[in-house]
Every structure is written in C-alpha cells, then in structure tokens.
Symmetry: C2
Subunit: 188 residues, 2 copies
DNA sequence: ACAAGCATGTAATTTGTTACATGATTAT
DNA sequence: ATAATCATGTAACAAATTACATGCTTGT
C-alpha cells in the first residue's frame, strides 16, 4: 500500500495534476517506486473519494483539461500514520538473478551479453543520479526536507552501485574476462 | 511473469511438491523472489494445465496428500526462451525510502528507530547469507550450476550490504550518532 | 480417538500492467 | 484547419495478498 502514500507525499511537496505526477515519478520519486499514469489516475480518484485530497478550486472539470490536486488534513494525518508504523523489509524482487539461476540449469544462452547490457544500463543510471546529486544539492542542504531527499537519492546511488559491482563480477566470472579498473568511480 | 519461471527452475533442480517449493522459496530462491504458498499452488495448477509440468506418476490425487511435480520438455523449452530474452531492469520498489521522503514533509516521528530496526534486520540477513556461502560452497564449485547458484547468493550479499551501508549513513545523519566501526565486515 | 500440525486448495480483494479512447492544446 | 501531442480517462486482464476451508498424518 505504498502508491497512495507516495502520491500524498508528492502532492504535499507540490500540488500537481496527474500528468505532472507521472513525470515526477519518472524522476525523483522514482528512485524507489514506479507507477504508470493509469495507476496514478485511478489512485487519485480513490484518494479524492476517500476525502484525503481535493482538486484545487478553479480546476476545469472536463476531460483533457489539467486538474490539480492538493492534500487535505485527513490526507496528511494518514501519511503521518504510515510513516510512523512498523513494516518489515521485503525481499528484493528482481528477475535477472532468477534468470541467471535458471541458466545454471538450462545453459547460459546469450545471458552473459544480457548481463553486460544491464551492467551498462545501471552504470548510466548511476551517472545520472550522481549528476542529480551534484546539481540539486551543490551546497549543504538547509531544510530537513532537503536533507532527507538527498538521503533518498544516496540510497538510489548505493543500490545502483551494488548492482554494478555484482554484475561486473558475474560477467567476469562467466566470461573469463579480465577484471576492469574501477568503473563505478569513487564516492564524491 | 517471473514466478512460473522460478518454479520451473526449482522443479528442474529437484522435483518437489507445493509445500516443498514454498520452503525452498524462503531459502535459496528467495534471495530475489518471494511467493506465498497460495501463489505457488495456483501457478502449479496453471503450469500443469498448460502442459509444462506434470505430477510424478504414483502421486496420490486426493487433497492433503503430497503431490510431486516434474518439468516436461515444453516447460524446459519455455525456460530456455525466457533466459534468452531481452528484459530491461526495473526500478527497485521499496517503501522504506519512500517513508523517509514522506518524513521529510510531515516530520520524522519514530522513523529513525524504524531505520535502526531495518538496519539490524538486514545485518542479520547478511550474516545468514554469509553463513550459507561458507557452508554450501566451502570448496571451489565444480559444476556450472553451483557456480551460478553461488553468484546469485553473492548478489543477495551485495544487495544486503548496500542496504546496510545506506541505513547506517541515514541513521547517523538523522540522529547525530557517532559513526560506527565496520559492522558489515569485509568481503570474505 | 483426539489434538496438533501439515499439505492442499478456494475465494475475495487489491495492486499492477497493457491496450485503447476522447477531449483539449499547440505548432505548422 | 488539421496534424501532432498532451492530459485525462475506461476497460480488460494478470499478479499478488489476505483470509479462510478441508483432508491427511503423526504423536500421545
């Protein structure tokens, strides 16, 4: 049940329309959650019916028009409750290691190339995150909100770095490639 | 669509019943996928109807009795196809960083304690994985299957280490705690 | 023979994915 | 004006979660 709370958070940071939220989910929010625009529209409807958010007064009610939402006190209260609850970590869920394990039984096929491809995609994502980090938090963060947002971005960076280190080792071991030099770079 | 393929892999490694598969998903397979017994039973039924697996001859057909499955040639072929396809990496999906971001807006509440709790759970899981690594792969792996299984386990270890490093930093920064010494240990 | 636990299964709900449809806005 | 794009929305489906039900097996 994280999507509604992710939406509440995003709307508290800045009232937005569905399409704006979709774009924001591809960016900062998306380090640890993704959602299609359909999920977002459906969930916005639910949240509105539940009285947790409302459309900004003056929003046009017809189709195809922008429709901005803001969070109501009940929505904020629900978010507080969610932040404060206990919730155990879930196991990561990723098909790639699963495919590798399957390859252990039925043969590698072209999987090593696929591992290289993923390694490169993760490297690109890591570079992008580091760029965000440099650009958006150049000077010491002032507000608690900024400090926390930077921490979350750091989480994304750590996770990407972890994948790269694993994929690099896997490719080396399965292809007999020579180890490369420090491609992930050092921590800034 | 990873669950059916995870099941095919597990069954190729060793024909099993639903409850055995459930247990195996809590162990080795579970480094990167989880499933409840209900998901597993339903999916086994589907795979059987699709002609990808069958019950071992001699299995009792009544309820409450063990029912062992094995993979048919069509199932193996499907697995080969899956291993060899292209599939882009998905973004990680974890509520904890999301909750942290929400806390940036509505206040931390008891979240720092929750971060500590998660850090400790990840430490415990990491210790467990390292124990598996030591126990199950003490000597150099001989078969391709063993090499690959060990690589997957290493993936689990890398991911856990990444979480621990992030959570440790987050707790330090949000609580003003003094940095600790090397709790994750060094790579064996 | 009875309780406790195990193995399988059904049902209902929620969440996520994919495909498609329609009204508004913008650029040429 | 009209094509391309944007924003919102509907529909159908697949996957995952939660709760509950029923028959076997084992130990006492």
């Amino acid at each position: 049940m994280s999507l509604p709370h992710a939406l509440l958070t995003a709307l508290l940071e800045k009232p937005s329309s569905g399409s704006e939220l979709t774009r924001r989910f591809d960016r900062s929010i998306g380090y640890f959650w993704s959602a299609t625009h359909q999920q977002i529209y459906r969930e916005l409807g639910k949240l509105e019916r539940a009285g947790l958010i409302r459309t900004l007064p003056g929003g046009a009610p017809t189709r195809g028009q922008k429709k901005e939402y803001e969070v109501l006190p009940e929505g904020r209260a629900e978010l507080v409750r969610w932040v404060d609850q206990r919730e155990d970590p879930k196991v990561a869920r990723d098909p790639l290691p699963l495919r590798l394990r399957a390859a252990g039984v039925v043969g590698l096929g072209g999987l090593v190339d696929e591992l290289r491809r993923h390694r490169d995609l993760h490297r690109a994502r890591l570079a992008e995150y580091r760029e965000f980090d440099r650009r958006d938090y150049a000077d010491e963060p002032s507000t608690q909100q900024e400090r926390v947002q930077r921490l979350v971005l750091r989480g994304g960076i750590d996770v990407e770095a972890g994948w790269i280190s694993w994929l690099t080792r896997a490719v080396e071991e399965l292809s007999g490639e020579a180890p490369e030099e420090d491609t992930a770079g050092t921590d800034p």
